[in-house]
Assembly symmetry: none
Amino acid sequence: MRILLIEDDPVLGMAVRDQIVADGHGADWVTRLADAAHAVHAAAFDLILLDLMLPDGRGSDFLKKLRSTGDATPVMVLTARDQISDRIAALDAGADDYLVKPFDLFELSARIRAVGRRYAGNPNPLVALGDIEVDLSARSVRRAGQTIALTAREWALFEAFVQRPHQLMSKPQLEERLYSFDAEVESNTIEVYVARLRKKLGADVIETVRGMGYRLGTPGGGA
Amino acid sequence: MRILLIEDDPVLGMAVRDQIVADGHGADWVTRLADAAHAVHAAAFDLILLDLMLPDGRGSDFLKKLRSTGDATPVMVLTARDQISDRIAALDAGADDYLVKPFDLFELSARIRAVGRRYAGNPNPLVALGDIEVDLSARSVRRAGQTIALTAREWALFEAFVQRPHQLMSKPQLEERLYSFDAEVESNTIEVYVARLRKKLGADVIETVRGMGYRLGTPGGGA
DNA sequence: TCCGGCCGTTCAGGTGGGTGTCAGCTTGGC
DNA sequence: GCCAAGCTGACACCCACCTGAACGGCCGGA
């Protein structure tokens, strides 16, 4: 799972992040709501851990805004023991769970696993790119209503782009993503798979930036 | 990535430096804070590994001073197990991560990769220069809302200016940055690329200081 | 066990855009 | 007005990239 941690306390934040990584998940850690907004815009997360008191605003407001955009990512709120009213506000705003500080890290792991189980059986938000629909949990892609079959490698590559829409990714980065960063690949595998994705999904799905890498394109012309 | 290692222990320093190089990154190794200050002044790093106990001062003071100049380079602190108070001081001073000695070199590699991913995948604060927006992680530049495509070399040069806004940079300095400091370039390449950037981004992005070098300008007149 | 299809990977040939170089021109200092 | 430093348009080369094809391994079915 990929988890976004929004927490301004450096000590707690680091501890939680390390625990997440130790549990085998991916962790992105930000300390301000502005950065968090950026992050959810740039990538798809499976879970968001949200502190309520942040330097640039209240977590519940962030959550409310997130829900209003139709984003259904599970959110677990981290609260201090005395912030009861805030906690209720968070639940009302659409939080899925909460954890009272100070909490045990094992407790955290257990809750995250629980979310994972719940999440696995749930319908996933569809990611839309022009006339392309992507279902990250079902691993299916449709263009103009037509479901398109992708092989394992093709999907792995495509997913890397979808998860960070505006990001430029170099070939070494993509190789590290497709092959568990030890297996050396000494050929133009990435180029070939980019070509195959373009053939299946349309030439405009992936944009080449010469000398630097690739980036998700704008199918259909829209943002 | 280019990494600055600040560590006075010769054995550990050498081991860490070799590991960094083995991981495919560039490593600069200094043993004193005075040299470190020199290094960050002279070049831009993607990551700084900082020992806290150094012969000529405390690492946390160095870090605090670095942050006060607006430098946001990720810093990973290397600490002994018992320097808890120093560790907290370092985090407060703006460290992004820490590693407790003695640490495994594989652990070090993993953390460095994590920094790379975080750096690459994270919402980077957009740098604003008048009406120009720069996203260092996405490698995108927009002027007045219009995204402008830069080639690899153009970006490399522009990035050099953006990363140190008020600094004057001589042509040899810039050449060293664009070409990995051995390849001799015997022509006016820098002048040519400065011209290309000006044509794409506007004549006022880069300012010429006759006989000395170039400096980031003040597009739009502001700041 | 053999066969056939599918997937992943590699290779070679072709192409276009980026890059570096140069020559001539402009600008600024004295 | 002279000279040095910087600017700019043009151009040829080269390499990053694209693409079609072929090879080998894996797996399921006969």
